[in-house]
């Protein structure tokens, strides 16, 4: 089960990993974007971190929605509305629950992914965060269906995310700023795909 306390420590862990990886993500965005992705994500989750106390007595849906609103109003760029929508749809799907079954965890990730696709209109293969979120959601759905434990399912999903990140390298970007580079975007890892993987890893960390 994913308990409310796990969700809280997940959110907090997101802040930590995005702080650790701030420069790394910005460096990835320097190659094929405008050198701000790490700073954007860090600014957003730092704001979430500062308001962390206000999340404590909320249910899971309200926690995630509150994270969403903070991200929307502080991240900016493309990733602000996208991750904002991601957490907003997750929160809406989670509703007023205090804990989620593995199946429900897969469902909220699915809702988050669909939100990102609706807002940004990216499909797998466009070299965006969708290239990580899609295999992650598919892996989660497959494993919970097969009756695996939440930790096992998320471990598998982290592997899928890792592969998804690597698979963005040879792609030509078709969405976002990197798309202006055309062929020149080949050979570079997508920053947003990478931050999506970090967010999933943060969830994994919160369970151990």
């Amino acid at each position: 089960m994913l308990k409310k306390d796990h969700v809280l420590s997940w959110i907090n862990r997101c802040y930590e990993v995005l702080e650790e990886n701030r420069q790394y993500l910005t460096k990835l965005d320097t190659a094929i974007g405008d050198a701000d992705h790490g700073n954007n994500m860090h600014r957003g989750f730092k704001k979430v971190h500062i308001q962390f106390e206000t999340l404590q007595d909320k249910d899971i849906g309200a926690i995630l929605k509150s994270v969403a609103m903070t991200l929307i109003s502080s991240v900016g760029g493309a990733s602000g509305p996208l991750y904002g929508t991601f957490f907003l749809q997750m929160g809406t799907k989670a509703g007023s629950k205090e804990e989620l079954s593995p199946k429900e965890v897969a469902q909220i990730w699915r809702a988050g992914l669909e939100g990102v696709k609706m807002r940004g209109k990216a499909e797998p293969g466009d070299k965006t965060m969708v290239d990580v979120l899609t295999p992650v959601v598919e892996s989660l759905e497959r494993d919970v269906e097969a009756g695996k434990s939440l930790v096992e399912a998320i471990d598998q999903a982290v592997e899928a995310a890792e592969k998804g990140v690597q698979d963005t390298i040879p792609l030509i970007a078709r969405k976002g700023r990197a798309s202006y580079l055309g062929e020149r975007s080949k050979g570079h890892q997508d920053p947003g795909a990478t931050s999506s993987k970090l967010i999933l890893q943060a969830l994994r960390d919160s369970l151990s």
């Binding site: 050198a35 701000d36 929307i72 030509i172």
Partner: protein
């Protein structure tokens, strides 16, 4: 990194405080969240023209707030789109009862944030339209990319639409003018050096002393190709001819449909410039290129437009839509009719553009 700054995290706030101190007669800065409005408050009965985007392009957009141009501007972090709450607050502060036109440069982030902002403002009962500017011909197709970027045309459009708002155009008419101007404008940019954002501290790309980037945007990003540096005549010729010979460009842009009450995609095709067209010619510095060199560009550009039978009726030369300290320039040619020329000549009184008053 060598910059005239204190702490990188304080750059935006401190520079806004400087603008406020310098231009208290023209504008008012709001700090929580960041947005800039005209000093006199909303203009009753006139459509409020709002724009915004990442910082680092000064004087755009904040420097264009004032009589005859913008009613409000939202600065984001350096090179990062501002957020919907800023835009929403700016719309509320600027609305004079006749609605709000958001001028949005075509970048994934700006478009999505302004869409969310428009939805928030509409929920408050404010009539809002978003018109997206996409004039950068370096981006060839819209099917496999995020589409052409919004660059130089934005400055000309903010000036002309600002005058139209003063003249009393309603939201629909102003939106139509904005859309037409966007379709009439074409730009291309190039860089001799990259630039350094304060938050990042390192150049956005490496470039040799004998190299240049062609087809850059305004965010310190590399362009569509790297070349050996050439003479100003050769560079200007390449850019000007590319603009003039640019093929019809078709793409879909989202606008609000007031009948259906939802976002709809409008398919628009820009027709190339043709002999006899009247144009405004805009030679812009990316920040680090001196005005003297822009005149070198203008000289050659004017010879070429002349050869193609285009008539430059007005011009603008200087750093207006910049990319921090980047050396480089962009050229914009915008086809205009007599009404647009009149609007261009109308008085404007902002920190960045002032004439006729």
């Amino acid at each position: 990194m060598k910059k005239l700054i204190n702490k990188p995290d304080d750059v935006i706030r401190e520079q806004l405080e400087g603008m406020q101190a310098a231009h208290a007669d023209l504008l008012k800065v709001n700090y929580e969240p960041f947005y800039i409005t005209r000093a006199g408050g909303p203009v009753k009965g006139k459509v409020a023209l709002v724009s915004g985007g990442g910082s680092g392009h000064e004087p755009m957009h904040g420097g264009f707030v004032g009589h005859g141009m913008l009613h409000a501007a939202c600065p984001g972090e350096v090179f990062t789109s501002p957020t919907p709450d800023q835009m929403h607050e700016a719309a509320k502060a600027a609305d004079g009862g006749a609605g709000v036109l958001n001028i949005v440069k075509n970048y994934t982030g700006d478009v999505m944030n302004f869409e969310m902002a428009a939805e928030l403002a509409m929920a408050d009962g404010i009539k809002v339209q978003n018109i997206v500017i996409d004039d950068d011909i370096a981006v060839k197709d819209s099917l496999y990319t995020a589409g052409r970027r919004g660059v130089g045309s934005t400055v000309l459009i903010e000036k002309i639409c600002g005058a139209a708002s003063e003249k009393g155009y309603d939201l629909e008419k102003l939106s139509a003018l904005c859309r037409t101007l966007n379709q009439n404008g074409r730009s291309m940019g190039m860089a001799l050096t990259s630039c350094i954002t304060p938050g990042n501290g390192e150049p956005s790309f490496e470039i040799g002393d004998d190299e240049m980037e062609i087809g850059i945007g305004i965010h310190g990003e590399p362009g569509i190709k790297r070349d050996k540096i050439k003479s100003v005549d050769e560079i200007t010729e390449m850019m000007t001819v590319s603009i003039i010979e640019d093929k019809p460009y078709t793409r879909k842009l989202k606008e609000w449909d007031f009948g259906k009450n939802e976002w709809v995609e409008r398919e628009l095709t820009d027709e190339p410039l043709k002999k006899g067209d009247k144009v405004i010619a805009f030679v812009n510095s990316m920040g680090g290129t001196p005005v003297s060199e822009l005149y070198g560009v203008y000289r050659k550009m004017a010879q070429i437009t002349d050869k193609f039978g285009l008539k430059i009726v007005r011009n603008l030369i200087g750093p207006y839509i910049t990319s921090l300290e980047m050396q480089g320039c962009s050229i914009t040619l915008m086809k205009v009719d007599d009404e647009m020329i009149k609007l261009w000549d109308a008085p404007v009184y902002t920190p960045g553009l002032k004439w006729g008053k």
